[in-house]
Symmetry: C2
Subunit: 216 residues, 2 copies
């Protein structure tokens, strides 16, 4: 009988209990540690992993102290034998992309059936990758929308100007604020409109929000 050692990290107590009750049905999984943040998991691995290695860390994305993305990165850099499975509520394409880039072993949304979760765990422990269809969809959507690349094509200064534009400042005001010529800001505005393929201020504002440059 196989015996796998797992760690679960989630700051939602109720959800943790849900995972535990699902995993308790499987005798071959030993839950070595549960944590409500990534830091404690990282700490545990750093101290104890060499003695009795952890096979799999199941983690949420949004957690205090050390979130799932950072935790995955840490594990993949320092504990290469330990697999990682992300189980999360929200999944934007950026998050999925970052995680796959950091070599995460699987990603299952929280609204998945428990059967799928168990399948994901099994696959990963066998050395395969497991991504739910909805996660793949999000990933592909992110890949084939030029949105992401557009955003990345903006320089620091351009983002700065875009932010101020979205904050309802006029060209003149922005020029004064940045100690630049009015013409310079006009150029930026023009370039932004053309780069982001929008028509006017409204479009720029929407992009600024998408980029997280403005609060609302």
């Amino acid at each position: 009988m196989k015996n796998y050692r797992l760690i679960i990290a989630d700051d939602h107590k109720m959800f943790l209990d849900g995972l535990l009750s699902i995993l308790e049905s499987k005798k071959e999984y030993e839950i070595v540690l549960t944590a409500n943040n990534g830091k404690n998991v990282a700490k545990y691995l750093d101290i104890n992993n060499s003695k009795e290695p952890i096979d799999l860390v199941i983690t949420d994305v949004n957690m205090p102290d050390l979130n799932g993305i950072e935790l995955n990165k840490h594990i993949k850099s320092n504990h290469s034998k330990t697999k990682t499975l992300v189980v999360s509520m929200l999944h934007d394409s950026m998050t999925v992309q970052t995680l796959t880039k950091d070599n995460v072993d699987g990603y299952v949304p929280k609204n998945a059936e428990k059967e799928e979760l168990l399948e994901a765990i099994e696959s990963i422990l066998k050395g395969e990758k497991y991504f739910s269809q909805s996660i793949k969809d999000v990933y592909l959507k992110g890949m084939f929308s030029n949105e992401q690349t557009l955003i990345e094509s903006l320089s620091k200064r351009e983002k700065e100007v875009l932010k101020l534009i979205a904050q309802e400042h006029t060209t003149q005001e922005i020029a004064d604020k940045l100690f630049l010529s009015k013409h310079t800001i006009e150029s930026y505005r023009k370039n932004l409109i053309s780069k982001l393929e929008v028509r006017n201020l409204a479009g720029l504002t929407k992009y600024a929000i998408k980029l997280g440059l403005v609060d609302d």
Copy 2:
């Protein structure tokens, strides 16, 4: 020994399991039904409730078929003896306000500790109301921010124009689209700027997004 009959509704299987495992520790709670949508709960109550009444329905907000808000409304209109407790991930002030208006008995966020959940259930079964502090905060914030009232102060037509403005249409284009004079749209734009207390298109666009009039 008391015996309470509960129903749980949540479309997230894992979360349902979490709730179940928490409630199974309490012998006095009998889980009569679990459902992944509101409709099945409503149906069950409509058929069986008079024989053996249900004491409490624990429900998520976002569910297919019949969401938590509608389910609560249905229960409060047709099964007044059945208490309701909402357990949800996201909680905007509108949702909280609607639910309290519809006389929900409690509201606990999903990231609450299991102790708090059990306390909420106990309180409600005793006939009290239970709202987590974070829920109260959201509620109060919604009450005292003029944002909500501002949004509600917009007429249907104003919202329609605002939407088109945020979709990057010019005044002339909107006029053509709605078969109205350019001057009319200009008036709307002016009124919107003054009502929403913003300076320009950027501000209007941000409000349109907040209102959910435009996708992004």
